[in-house]
Symmetry: C2
Subunit: 392 residues, 2 copies
Amino acid sequence: MENLNNIVNTGLRGVTVANTKISHVDSDAGKLIYRGYLITDLAEKTCFEEVVNLLLFEKLPNPEELRQLRTHLAAQRAIPKSLVASLKTCPADSLPMDILQAAIPLLANNDPGAAELTLEKSIDTAIRLIAEIPTIVCAWHRIRNGMDPVPPDPDLNHAANFLYMLTGEVPDEQTARFFDICLVLHAEHSFNASTFSARQVASTRAHMYAAISAAVGSLSGALHGGANTRVMRMLKEIDESGDMDEYISRVLNSGGKIMGLGHAVYKNGDPRAKILAPMSKALGQSIGETRWYDLSVLLEEKTKALFKAKKGLDIYPNVDFYSASVYYSMGIPMDLFTPVFAVSRIAGWAAHVMEEQFAGASDKPALYRPSSAYIGDYCGPAECPFVAMDNR
Amino acid sequence: MENLNNIVNTGLRGVTVANTKISHVDSDAGKLIYRGYLITDLAEKTCFEEVVNLLLFEKLPNPEELRQLRTHLAAQRAIPKSLVASLKTCPADSLPMDILQAAIPLLANNDPGAAELTLEKSIDTAIRLIAEIPTIVCAWHRIRNGMDPVPPDPDLNHAANFLYMLTGEVPDEQTARFFDICLVLHAEHSFNASTFSARQVASTRAHMYAAISAAVGSLSGALHGGANTRVMRMLKEIDESGDMDEYISRVLNSGGKIMGLGHAVYKNGDPRAKILAPMSKALGQSIGETRWYDLSVLLEEKTKALFKAKKGLDIYPNVDFYSASVYYSMGIPMDLFTPVFAVSRIAGWAAHVMEEQFAGASDKPALYRPSSAYIGDYCGPAECPFVAMDNR
């Protein structure tokens, strides 16, 4: 094998670890494609359930298939009573992502076939997880506020039911549709860190619950799913201080980044941000509070101009930048932004776990087991004589 | 960057992803080294707590340091009451690895500083996890059998306390010492799948609990930590059928493997197996039941001879081969073999998470975010025209 030392400590950037049929990020063209379809088409013309069908079954559903999937998902929304009892034992200030990471292996306890590794079972588990994760997120939010969970409503679609279980009120049509679009936009993004975690755990032949719980842990990191919450915190800080220019120069001069601007992959703009920005504006107008959208636009413009002037580079908002104000305007608590990311991304995670488990033998990656370079220098490059206790 | 396409779908085998000072696997020489020290020396001359000190603090402790670490660990062994209450809500047939993966993020709920990313806090979390994971494993085993958990005994060392919490009885000296050696042997093994999962989750700046829970999920896979349980099941199957030759030829002829023989990394023998084999023998003699050791030796000999004759290759037992009969002879239930692996490996995982979090800037890997090759062919290599619902 050729020398691969030039990838040491680069976090595998640019290293193609596997083939995938699930999605494609065209970084130059600024396109995101789920199984052949452009995200711009999917966001405009489909709902989350259609995207679930596309990701899991490799096709957009016809009306009958969509009806069946909706029925199947709705039937799986309730979570086990033992899980609710378990959530009630948790301290009220538990972090929602910790709760979600814990709850997923607990779901496995109530699924007698959890450990089966067949395509049929993995589809069943995927549907269960897509249906149950929203219920867990909402149940925990209610429980931590001393309220009973709101039982799911099978007459509502996936997006509307989430907002209903969160607040106890059926959302208006625009809010439900916008949330649905958010779920479509966040459902899949190739080998990002959490998806890679899920695939990596699945590659050991651990069951899907174990893999998805690991993905939730990965998503909880500040560099990954935590970004949209940090965008909102930043907007609030700027709003409170009233001095955006001071904020920008302070952050950039201390080597920091303006959250939500720039993307490791999309160099010419994230197509999802372009869909989210007008939603943020429309939602702000609906609730009579455009402050967060306005601040976002101004922050984008100022930072863009500064980058162009200083570095000759263009910088664009990523998916987190406008989703922050979208979620905030919908009344979703800030510390649930990352769990909401999981509510959507579970569709992509499940598709990737299945690809890891069942892709044809020639495509199937072995268990991920990289090498490392030992640079221990305790007494030379490799080994030391043992030192007995008396001589330490 | 050079073309790295030759690593697609190889599970990163042979790809050096990071530098590490923690351990070194010398596959040709059959050596395992923790921070400069040979595993053979460590197993013979140290206890698990000394190895914890070595892995976390980069040195073997002097007597005072060892005393302090023991005190610190013993003080952290109790698990939160809310976690015990939560375990009591779980169905009795829940898989112990699912329980452990869930319990770790629940521990975070009771650690007010869980999300802090400082070296001091990570050391604190590491000590907590090393101390609490054994308690979780034992508490769950008691609870699923309708018994109350046995509170930890601060006068017992780490190994003896585990067996005490599991059975309610203080183990004899030989059993306690042998279990201690098992913990030393399993504590660390470079970038194996679960350790890579832990590092990968930590690279997103998720907290240590999230990373370790993911590692437990990875370890639960049949190709990874599940192997020692499968060795024991195999020994029982051979014992019941009474026909080892038939078993071997049936498994090998159907393309299967004899569990516990051969290792992806050690081509000339796993140094840990050589330490475990005599322990299996001695334990068998102590309890007056050498059947599992005898079967193991015979199985090793027969398979070795067959491999040599058919493929001209040598095959050696790995760490799982004799640890199966060791644990079984100690009275550890078979489905706890993998949790026991975690009870030990948490020391290595924690050291790796800290290396990921705090290694000097030049050594620190970025967030692991590999690339993938899109091979979707839904209507060509990349994108399709959208198909409206009526035309599907």
